[in-house]
Symmetry: C2
Subunit: 343 residues, 2 copies
DNA sequence: AAGTGTAATGTTAGCGCTAACGCACTGGCA
DNA sequence: TGCCAGTGCGTTAGCGCTAACATTACACTT
């Protein structure tokens, strides 16, 4: 009944290719899997048949027998932020180039339960590996507890719980920023940090402090923010009155923007009265008024390396690898030598 | 040999559940698929066995026989921009809530070849439907040519080539912006547009023009940009000299930012000397100096509705549906009545 | 001449699931 | 009483692929 010859409806399967090429379906499989035991002539004929029929291997059938899905799960939080989004982009690209599918799951809440739910989603899909874009301590802990059977790489957290990780050196970035300020002659350098609960936020505080102490300066000007421009703006309003620092290292560009607005509104001139340096180098920061001096993070490189590590582990390399990539100082217009010495 | 009783290695399969519950594997399947012909008692026992063993259905096997992968492909370009990223987030959430996996593919280049490649990727994965986050005319054309066998929904383009689409009403948004300026008393209203090659860019030009003509004003102050702050900055430098407009509608917030910097550097005061209004309402725009009046796009709603339409089509609803969601004016500090009348 | 290895292919079984069918058992109705 | 239509299950046959084994042909040894 349904033996109506051509594949008007049903896409061609291996057997169809085999028939056209005059071989068995297994030989077609061998050609597809680059098995060496196929004569050049046969390989040629099979490849022609594949091209002629427009054959594409059924990945569900393949997954069923190989127990590999050829897909990598990416667990992301804050996906609409510049950093995570850029990393995701790079991860997707590298994974697809390596022949993998990329499945995403946005984290609903940064809790163990939220992570467990997302991981279960990936398990249902039988992903071959997971890249995690949630640099938060609870992530590594939750992941460890779940005892995953597949390799996991965390972007932004290295050496956590024996899990593999690739991270931008946040301490170095903070030191670069602070040292730049010190070289300009600043001695009263404050830090408006990100939340300490996030690894990046905590590490930047450490770097800021290290650079200060190494130069014999005091680390007493620390305020905590929450990555948002809104909170930074509020803090900026207070800082405008206090004027205890001649330079401020903001935990990210958004907070620097909030500071910029607060100072602009209160008549505190940047950089003449106070220098500001951000972190991330998101595309807009070059067009703030004035253009923001900041620390550039290599998000693309970060994403690429996450996949490199993951693929290595998929090919049997040992787990628990750590890699670090370096941020870079970008000097623009918000940092100059201190004009007056207010103490 | 490998009959070592428990599932120390191999995860449980349907047969294992069946054995524990004392039924056939088919009955387990029936319970899982909510087949009504299962007695309450049996259903209960099966569900207990499932819980006890921690059984999870193998999706590859299921896909193989049902020819459905339970996954939705999302084709995205500019994934690191705020709008697309937010939409992606909403799409992912809605899809996962509906029990689907979400696979992404970033578009390498906005050309027919690039789209064809990404679509092939999705076909290999046998996705059940595709959401496209590339509001570019070439997208719909390429998609149409490919004669996809699965439903497709384009975010940001409605009524194109008979394909389904959900879009924010860009014309309305532009009109809202321009009418706001007109109400304030402006008569010389320029537009720094996005690329006309993008649907959004073109539609905003149309809306700007419509509002102007409806009020009896001239539509002669049009400049083309490319969404970037960099180009907008260059244009802004020229505009600062020309001073032909008392208000400028920027095609997006980033371009508004570029303008802001150019005017700031050249001593043109915003909003006293010139009013500026943006488009998108990206989170930072509230903290520009001064805070930007702009048009807010409901990206989350957009993403949600894309999945709604897609699911409807997956359930047999007709294809080629169009839905429109509305943007909203957000008045902040960059727009005031014209202070002097320069012509 | 018989034996041995190996390259190139074919044949068979089965991955875990659903669809289709089969078969008891019930209850309602003529 | 007999018939029929459900209900609640079990049994069987694949989905399209790869892994494992079987088979052939031929070169090369002893």
């Amino acid at each position: 009944m349904r033996e109506t010859g051509q594949s008007a409806v049903r896409p061609p399967v291996m057997e169809d290719v085999a028939k056209v090429a005059g071989v068995s379906h297994q030989t077609v499989s061998r050609v597809l899997n680059n098995n060496p035991n196929v004569s050049p002539g046969t390989r040629e004929r099979v490849e022609q048949a594949i091209a002629q029929l427009g054959y594409r291997r059924n990945s569900a059938a393949r997954s069923l027998v190989t127990r590999q899905s050829q897909t990598i799960g990416v667990l992301a939080a804050e996906m609409s932020e510049y950093g995570p989004a850029s990393t995701l982009l790079a991860v997707e690209r590298a994974a697809r180039d390596a022949g993998y599918f990329v499945s995403i799951a946005g984290l609903r809440e940064v809790t163990k339960a939220g992570i467990a739910e997302a991981v279960r989603h990936f398990q249902d899909q039988a992903v071959d590996g997971i890249v995690v874009l949630v640099p938060h301590p609870v992530t590594s802990a939750a992941l460890k507890e779940l005892k995953l059977q597949v390799p996991v790489v965390i972007a932004g957290a290295v050496g956590e719980q024996g899990l593999s990780g690739v991270a931008v050196d946040q301490q170095l970035g903070a030191q670069l920023a602070v040292e730049h300020l010190i070289e300009l002659g600043h001695t009263r350098i404050g830090h408006l940090s990100g939340p300490q609960a996030w690894i990046d936020g905590a590490q930047r505080i450490v770097g800021w402090r290290k650079a200060l102490l190494a130069a014999g300066l005091k680390d007493d000007l620390l305020r905590h923010g929450d990555w948002t421009a809104a909170t930074a703006y509020e803090v900026g309003l207070e800082l405008a009155t206090a004027r205890s620092a001649t330079a401020i290292f903001a935990g990210n560009d958004q907070m620097a923007l909030g500071l910029l607005r607060a100072f602009h509104e209160t008549g505190v001139r940047v950089p003449e009265d106070i220098s500001i340096i951000g972190f991330d180098d998101q595309p807009d920061s070059e067009y703030y008024s004035p253009p923001l001096t900041t620390v550039s993070q290599p998000f693309t490189e970060l994403g690429k390396q996450c996949i490199e590590v993951l693929l290595d582990e998929l090919n049997g390399a040992e787990h628990g690898v750590s890699r670090v990539v370096e941020p870079r100082l970008v000097v623009r217009k918000t940092t100059v030598p201190p004009q007056s010495t207010i103490n």
